[in-house]
C-alpha cells in the first residue's frame, strides 16, 4: 500500500521543523535534511523530541535515520498511528 499522510499531518511536520529550525517551511518544500546546513546531529535530537510531542508518536532508535524530510517524517509518523 502506498502511504500518503494526511495533509494536516504534513502541515504539523512542517510547522514543527520550522519552529525548531527557525524558519517557515512552505507547502511543497520537501525540506531535505542534506540541504539544511543547520540540521546537524544536535538539532536532529532536538527535532525528535519536538516531533514526538507535536505528532503524538514515539520513534524507535533505529528509525531516526529515516527522519530526513517532510514526507519521510510524515510517513513514519503515520505508521506509528499519527493522523
Amino acid at each position: 500500500m502506498d502511504y500518503r499522510p494526511a495533509p494536516d499531518l504534513r502541515a504539523r511536520v512542517r510547522e514543527t521543523l520550522g519552529v525548531v529550525l527557525g524558519r517557515p517551511i512552505e507547502p511543497g518544500d520537501p525540506f531535505f535534511r542534506d540541504d539544511q546546513p543547520d540540521w546537524d546531529s544536535l538539532k536532529h535530537i532536538e527535532l525528535v523530541f519536538a516531533l514526538e510531542g507535536a505528532l503524538g508518536v514515539r520513534f524507535e532508535a533505529d528509525e531516526l535515520g529515516e527522519l530526513t524530510d517532510v514526507e519521510a517524517i510524515a510517513g513514519l509518523a503515520e505508521r506509528h498511528g499519527a493522523t
Binding site: P37, D38, W39, D40, S41, L42, K43, I45, E46, V48, F49, R58, F59, E60, A61, D62, E63, L64, G65
Partner: protein, 196 residues
C-alpha cells in the same frame, strides 16, 4: 600514544584504539559518504594497522574508539593530537561516526572532558572541511568560538579545501558541557527504547 584513558558517558564510552580496530577504522574512512572530506587512504588493512601502530609510538596523541556502553559496539572514532610544547593546547579531530549514530553529542562531550578534566588543557581547537556544513554547525551550536577560515588548509587527494577553525577554552567548557550533556542524555533516552 599508548594510553589507558577511558571515558564513560550515558550511552557511549571512549576507549583507547588499538591495531585490532584497524578494520573498523578502514570501513569508516573508506565509506562513500565521507569521500572528499578526509585524506584518502590506501584501502589496505595492513596500511591501517601500520598507521595505528605508528600512532601508538607518537607522544601527545590520544585516539579513541567511540563505542556503545551497553554492548561495546563500535560506532566511531575521535582523537586529540598535536599537543603543543607547553601542554596547554591540542587539536581534536579524526571524528567519524557510523551513519545514524546518536553518539555525536556524547562523544564530543567526553573528548572535552578528557581534554579539560583529565589532561588539564587550557584550549582545544578543531579544523573542519568548510563544506562539511553539518559538522561546522555542530561546533557552532556547541558553543565553540569560530576563530576563522583557513584557506587551503587541507589537500584531500587532488583537491585543496578551506577549513573552518573552532576553539574551546577551559573557561567556556562548562557552558559547552551543559549544552552537550542535555543532548547526550536525550540520545541515551532514545537508545534505551531499543529497536524495532
Amino acid at each position: 600514544m599508548r594510553h589507558e584513558l577511558v571515558l564513560e558517558g550515558h550511552a557511549f564510552r571512549l576507549r583507547p584504539i588499538g591495531p585490532q580496530d584497524a578494520e573498523f577504522v578502514l570501513a569508516l574512512r573508506t565509506a562513500s559518504r565521507v569521500q572528499g572530506r578526509l585524506h584518502p587512504v590506501s584501502g589496505l588493512l595492513g596500511d591501517q594497522v601500520a598507521w595505528i601502530e605508528g600512532y601508538l609510538r607518537r607522544p601527545g596523541d590520544w585516539y579513541w574508539v567511540v563505542e556503545r556502553s551497553l554492548d561495546g559496539r563500535p560506532e566511531g572514532t575521535l582523537g586529540l593530537y598535536d599537543l603543543e610544547a607547553d601542554r596547554s593546547r591540542a587539536e581534536w579531530g579524526r571524528w567519524l561516526l557510523r551513519p545514524g549514530s546518536l553518539g555525536a553529542p556524547e562523544s564530543a562531550l567526553l573528548l572535552y572532558r578528557a581534554a579539560f578534566e583529565k589532561l588539564g588543557l587550557a584550549e582545544v581547537h578543531c579544523r573542519t572541511v568548510a563544506t562539511n556544513a553539518a559538522v561546522v554547525s555542530f561546533h557552532d551550536r556547541s558553543g565553540l568560538e569560530r576563530t576563522g577560515v583557513l584557506p587551503g588548509a587541507f589537500v584531500l587527494g587532488d583537491t585543496v579545501v578551506d577549513a573552518v577553525e573552532h576553539s574551546l577554552t577551559r573557561d567556556r567548557w562548562p557552558f559547552t558541557r551543559d549544552l552537550l550533556e542535555v543532548r547526550a542524555a536525550q540520545a541515551a533516552e532514545i537508545l534505551s527504547r531499543g529497536s524495532r
